[in-house]
């Protein structure tokens, strides 16, 4: 189980990385922590002619408190969130999430940017940053742009990143002290990818609520109808039928058992965010 041959470059700057990736077209693959890419290379499931190692680009490591938000460079490892080594914008949600996926050795090398850019439908950071209303900073041949997190994923392993574009970092607006969050995840085993995962961030004082379902066989689903009902004061426990209807309306074609499971995690996340 060894990778097919590929060439390797290690750009020192963002500009160089963008140039190399753009020149390589689809056959060049960016490498961050490699915790998803290298297994796929080993299994020969992800053909790559060239691996572009981003890990030496300092600009991708920057972590900044920007007053109303925190900017996390794409190469920030999961363990930095787990260990509380980076400023928190999320009232503890990001740390809570980071403690609960994969395994320590993977969290040491895996990065938030790599995980988001891969867009694995069962992974954790995407629904998290969508729930937090994050802005994704992207650099490419045409310069920098910002993509709202919920617009970033187009489908399983399919993102809005264009050719040569690199995810530079994640800017997470700081939650108000009045904001609460809930998190509910089903895995068959500790550390495995989620079977279902719901994250709710609710700030009734500011009339803001966002509930996101991950592990949804595609892009995470933002439950707008549920958010509105919660802000109107509904109890999540009473909303199972509405949630189910909203999921059915998403046209993801969930199996009946999956629909039950997703409904459960959504109810529980929402309950924890409003209680």
């Amino acid at each position: 189980m060894k990778p097919a041959p590929f060439s390797y470059v290690r750009p020192a700057s963002l500009e160089e990385a963008v140039r190399v990736l753009a020149a390589g077209g689809g056959a060049a693959r960016p490498l961050a922590g490699g915790q998803s890419l290298v297994p796929m290379l080993n299994l020969r499931l992800a053909p790559a002619e060239q691996v572009v190692d981003l890990t030496r680009i300092e600009a991708l490591r920057r972590v900044e408190d920007r007053g109303t938000s925190v900017f996390y460079g794409a190469l920030t490892p999961h363990a930095a969130f787990e260990d509380g080594k980076v400023p928190d914008a999320s009232n503890g949600l990001m740390r809570h999430v980071a403690e609960r996926f994969a395994f320590r050795a993977v969290r040491n090398r895996g990065t938030i940017g790599g995980a988001i850019a891969l867009a694995d439908p069962a992974a954790d950071w995407l629904p998290t940053v969508i729930a937090l209303g994050a802005r994704l900073h992207v650099a490419g041949p045409e310069g920098e742009r910002i993509i709202p997190a919920e617009e970033f994923v187009l489908g399983p392993y399919f993102t809005a990143l264009g050719e040569g574009e690199i995810l530079v970092g994640v800017e997470v607006p700081k939650l108000a002290a009045s904001a609460r969050w809930g998190y509910s995840k089903v895995t068959t085993k500790v550390g495995e990818y989620a079977e279902s995962m719901a994250i709710a961030v609710v700030d009734r004082a500011r009339r803001s609520a966002r509930i996101v379902l991950g592990a949804a066989d595609g892009a995470p689903i933002v439950l707008a109808d549920l958010a509105a009902r919660l802000l109107d004061g509904a109890r999540p426990e009473d909303l199972a039928a509405a949630i189910r209807a909203e999921l059915v309306a998403s046209e993801r074609d969930f199996a009946p058992a999956k629909l039950v499971m997703h409904t459960t995690t959504i109810v529980r996340a929402a309950r924890d965010a409003v209680s």
């Binding site: 915790q35 290298v38 299994l43 890990t55 050795a105 040491n108 500790v190």
Partner: protein, 167 residues
């Protein structure tokens, strides 16, 4: 096709020309003949290949050797004689923390890191923290008991613990 890589492995500087596709596990085993690092899945799940890179445990099988150029790597061989590791090994022997021995080097490295990092370990915490290391022989009971015994010895166990079963 080949690229240069230079690492400090178990305190020794090594430099080699390797194919970029060479993962750290193969580099350690094939190029340096350090065979304590075992390959159990080569897709980053079983944990048998866990080694320390710059002091932190990583999966050698899903780390390209070239991508950690310049790093300091420690394998089980390099921790021979190290005090905490010897405490762990003694505990694994005393509490029957191994059977076939194949997962053992990865278990020891992950446990070593855990005992370095944490001071609040109870049985549940050990189980959760070790969930990235698979064993097919022991059912984990001997492993968990070994790690708890070592944790108590080095002061990494939660004061309130222990000897309470998971239930």
């Amino acid at each position: 096709m080949k690229v240069p890589v230079s690492l400090t492995v178990n305190g020794e500087r090594v430099a080699a020309e390797i194919e970029p596709r060479t993962h750290l596990g193969d580099f350690l085993r094939d190029h340096l003949r350090l065979t304590a690092t075992h390959l159990g899945c080569e897709h980053g799940v079983c944990g048998a290949c866990t080694v320390l890179v710059n002091g932190e445990p990583v999966r050698a099988c899903i780390t390209l050797a070239v991508s950690i150029d310049g790093a300091e790597v420690k394998t089980l061989e390099g921790l021979q004689g190290e005090a905490l590791m010897e405490t762990l090994k003694a505990a694994f022997h005393e509490k029957h923390g191994l059977q076939c021995g194949f997962c053992t080097p990865g278990m020891l490295i992950s446990a070593w890191d855990l005992l370095k990092r944490r001071r609040d370990l109870d049985e549940r915490a050990v189980r959760v923290a070790m969930s990235g290391n698979l064993c097919r022989c022991t059912g984990y009971q001997g492993i968990v008991r070994s790690i708890m015994a070592a944790a108590e010895k080095v002061g990494a166990a939660a004061p309130s613990t222990i000897k309470e079963p998971l239930r």
